[in-house]
Symmetry: none
């Protein structure tokens, strides 16, 4: 397996650069992140990036996809937790907290790409690649919600909209956590979110 070593190096470089890109985008924002700074952050020369990514768009896209697929995987696993909807919901919220905690920087990239910028052509490209990931996550959750509705666990309402409400509401709380210097224990936030969704806020 003489190939193996080269592939490992290749993998490693791609990883290094993607991570650097994530950090720089997180620091500067999508638009202000320059190839030079990403290269510096990754500890490679500008030209090296182009050996592994076609162009700037390609790098950003791949970086995003990679992070999203991580979030995706975590949420999917959480959704497969055995038990009631409540159990699943708590698992999902915990998964999101875990993800954003591990990828503190990511949430700005996440925001940047969910509402893509650039000309129409670029937007179409991003939509093609990035939106589906988000949408499919919403849909997965909507499906679990629907199943719970049919089992009579929760009230009937539009499952897609409810999924959105849950994802974004909890993301906001989680992002605040991430920005917080001294966040409360995870359980407190999970309880706040899951409790509110399940039982409402009425005393």
């Amino acid at each position: 397996m003489a190939r193996s070593k080269e592939e490992v190096v290749q993998e490693f470089r791609i990883h290094t650069i993607r991570d650097a890109a994530m950090r720089v985008i997180a620091r500067r924002g999508m638009a202000a992140a320059t190839m030079q700074e990403i290269a510096d952050e990754a500890g490679v020369a500008k030209g090296t990036i182009y050996l592994y990514f076609k162009d700037r768009d390609d790098l950003v896209e791949k970086t995003f996809e990679s992070a999203m697929s991580d979030l995706h995987k975590r949420v999917d696993e959480a959704l497969e937790t055995e038990g009631t909807f409540e159990v699943k919901l708590r698992a999902v919220v915990a998964a999101q907290i875990g993800f954003f905690q591990a990828n503190r920087e990511f949430f700005r990239l996440y925001i940047s790409l969910r509402y893509p910028e650039g000309n129409a052509q670029q937007q179409r490209r991003q939509k093609r690649h990035c939106q589906p990931q988000y949408k499919s996550r919403v849909e997965r959750i909507a499906a679990v919600i629907e199943a719970a509705m049919e089992r009579g666990e929760i009230r009937k309402m539009d499952p897609m909209r409810l999924a959105l409400f849950i994802i974004e509401g909890s993301s906001a709380v989680i992002i605040e956590r991430v920005l917080d210097e001294a966040p409360p224990p995870e359980e407190a936030d999970i309880e706040l979110i899951a409790g509110t969704i399940l039982g409402g806020i009425r005393s």
Copy 2:
């Protein structure tokens, strides 16, 4: 009042340019919105913009502030609705729907600035100006929540985090509404949001 007329013209120009900026940013996204396109959209020369705004950042900032203060005013009015927390909540959600419906384009600017881009200096500046607006809205809602808690209307929990959860969760649903070609009636979405928050989703 000879001054008056000049002032009116001044006001009008500022308005025209701000609206143009909002449309262009909405169309292209923050980074791809050029001064030239904004000038064209406003029907003035590029140089004219600089008579009314210090630079690009200033224009964006003022545009954002202006729109936010509109949203702000609406939410504030809603919060002053007489009645229970439920009444206030429904009024707030309705106000947000009304705002985003009237300013369909705004939400991208809103997104862009909530998670500002640019170099560190720009970021600090934006934080100083824009974050407070958002924060103050969250705080106002948190205050109303706290009052309701004290009146025993709702359960005790972290009011700031709850406010965030409500604002973002409902914003997401509302943004989806705005993007939706044929959205359901306003009341349905208000019911979904307010109902979930107040009573939870458990049957």
Copy 3:
């Protein structure tokens, strides 16, 4: 005619830049001529060039076309000289000498574009624009040759190939003239070329 002045300025800029481009290309060669050097030579900023030309290709193309159409015009006028083929031939050679003398720098651009470089797409583009100019010049001369053949002034042979032979043979002599520090009188070279073509070199 308020427009007139602006148009004059516009024309003037285009001229200035084209001339600068010609000088720089002549000096450095097609490939090594940078936008920066062209801008410097023209006494404008790099960005200014892009106000008048879409991109580098556009500038080179227009520069070439402009020079070619000058050469073209001169040769055409020469071909319309009244008289025998000999008279026309001498006029054409004189026109070419005049052109290259006035545009000493041009011949390298001329060479560069007759045998275009770059990728297939660029080549196609150049072929579309530049080759036709050259080809049409060859064809015009070929037509005059054919007419002379029919009048019995000259022997029958392939007119296109003969035209090529005449144009390139004389161009080479003329270019040598241009490079020559102390060239012989024009008449001597015209005589050499026209005499050789018409009467051959046999004593």
Copy 4:
């Protein structure tokens, strides 16, 4: 002779790379021919080229020299044909046709280097190396012309300029041949060129 084998390999490598360079330059043009493509075409690694050639300029130069010395040899042999100037001339034209036919790709390199590009330093270098080759060919022909003049075979005129006229005029016709999908028989073009030069075009 242990050296011999190594030398043979060395020679072979140099040959392979030079030929590849010629094909690539012919295909892409001087400026767009990259070391990578040349390496690929030669079936070696980029770095290998630098073992045999100092740098890109060196490679191009040696490639040119090698091809030119081939053309040179053929023309020299033709010039040594026994007989009148007419016989020699026909032989030279035939030699050129033969050469360009065998090296179809070469003419673009030929053009590129006759009118060299690049910065002043590169130009000086190329002039030093390449121009002499061309010049010496012109001079050799000029010498033969002069001899013929002295023997009274042809009229007195500037032999250098006449040589240029003959070389370029015939090259143009020959290049057209090469580009031609279905060229006329060689003899026809030889006749056209030699006939015109010797006897002129007057009937």
